[in-house]
Symmetry: C2
Subunit: 285 residues, 2 copies
């Protein structure tokens, strides 16, 4: 099953039998003071810089989140979409907890976007899915609902199924629903990694849809988080992850995903890996 | 399916639902000049040092290979088994290309050993399997035969089946056959990683047996081989690897396998990982 999204200038296809698609996560003010300050002043220079850096590092889609308490988030989203579109050609993943912000973003976006996110909560389904359907957008769907994040695989599977069915009824086909089965902290729950890996495998087996996952939660509270995230990502790729939301400017993460593609038979003569390595360590030549 | 092997002092159990078992690969003179020189002089001090270091680093089984051209390999194998048995308690994997050396090793070993290796070649099957059966040993079985190493998954699966059946007829049950589906260089064949991962998954699915793999071939000819081997190992664990033959004294490899166990739900409160990290970087506390 293949998901196609596009900007005015570029189409990206996501699928099991295709190279991994990295969705760059850095355009997000959460925990990033400099970016938050720039956004507060309506300065889109840093957003454009982050866009360029991530595409340069291998991101093929960019997540755009401008959520700031007290700010005109809808206005900022529209500005950010325009600014990013000037800086780079890749399609965007419009990311907000607020449906009105997603609506403003979808209206401003030229192309087929990814909407981040919907989940099994009735309010979310009712507000976000029709909007995504109207714009023929694809959606990221988290396997949680009004009861919270289930700790078991069958409930996550059931939520995925519910969202896929609900989307389908509204005219969003299964290939335009990208499931995020949620990786939680293994330091808080030592079964959390296994649950995420099993959920990925079960969802792939049952529905064959594309899947994303934010790997950074998994390492919360542990030393050398990049190593933990990298190992989890490599394992998740085998379980069914096709489009990780992550930071490709971190070499350990980028390296892991490039090597994972090499191991999946998607890197002819290993040239992508060798090129990535050489651009990271040019002094060794 | 669980494989049990033991020394006079310690039993180790290998299985899908158990923590990974690292088989330490360092007692092998191939490419190790110092160890080769020590063995040539019949000096077992370095062998004992390698045994202690690897067990300290997390190896739960040790591979013992004393193959030197021109040397009395059978005699050295018997001496090495005794020397390693004095230094550490873990069970051993007796490793030689020569059936007479394996026979001498099996005769000298107290416990249930792992024999490394048999493959689909008729001569190997005829010589090594009856000997392993007579000693009630477990065997490592490579998915290659008189025709060489097959590049496709179905042929590797067929060779695994042939060896499992042949072993069974001689009284070696399937749980005592550990398949090595062979990871070859991705730089030489860019489908080699995918083939190994698919073979692991197919063999697990069909036979449910334990599997080992030597990860180092996969990175031959590439930069940052440890990173490549680590990513491959993490992926292989999801596909069906349960007892990698590797070097646990290399932190990147050890870290990968400890994190993989954490992600498989085999590390309560993440304490194994945190302990391993702290013993690697004591200065940070």
């Amino acid at each position: 099953m293949r998901t196609k999204i596009w900007s005015a200038k570029q189409e990206v296809e996501i699928g099991r039998d295709l190279p991994l698609v990295i969705i760059g996560e850095r355009i997000n003010p959460t925990g990033r003071k400099r970016l938050a300050a720039a956004l507060e002043q309506g300065d889109m220079g840093l957003v454009q810089e982050e866009a360029r850096r991530q595409v340069q590092a291998g991101a093929r889609v960019l997540d755009v989140n401008v959520g700031l308490s007290g700010a005109d988030e809808a206005g900022l989203m529209v500005e950010a979409i325009a600014a990013v579109g000037e800086a780079v050609d890749v399609p965007l993943c419009l990311d907000s907890a607020r449906p009105d912000v997603l609506a403003a973003g979808l209206a401003a976006y030229s192309g087929k976007a990814l909407v981040n996110s919907v989940n099994g909560e009735e309010a979310k389904l009712a507000e976000v899915l029709p909007m995504a359907a109207a714009h023929r957008a694809a959606v990221v769907a988290l396997t949680m609902d009004d009861r919270g994040i289930p700790t078991d695989v069958p409930t996550r599977l059931a939520i995925a199924e519910k969202i896929i069915n609900r989307a389908d009824k509204l005219g969003i086909p299964p290939e335009d629903v990208i499931i995020d089965p949620l990786a939680m902290s293994v330091a808080a729950d030592d079964q959390a990694g296994l649950t995420a890996l099993h959920a990925l495998a079960a969802i792939r087996h049952e529905f064959g849809v594309n899947q994303t996952i934010g790997a950074s939660n998994v390492s919360f509270g542990l030393p050398d988080r990049r190593a933990v995230n990298s190992v989890f990502l490599a394992m998740a790729v085998v379980a069914g992850l096709t489009c990780p939301i992550t930071d490709p400017t971190v070499w350990e993460i980028k390296r892991t995903l490039v090597i994972a593609d090499l191991m999946r038979g998607h890197d002819e003569f290993g040239m992508n890996y060798i090129t990535a390595y050489r651009s990271q360590f040019p002094e060794e030549d």
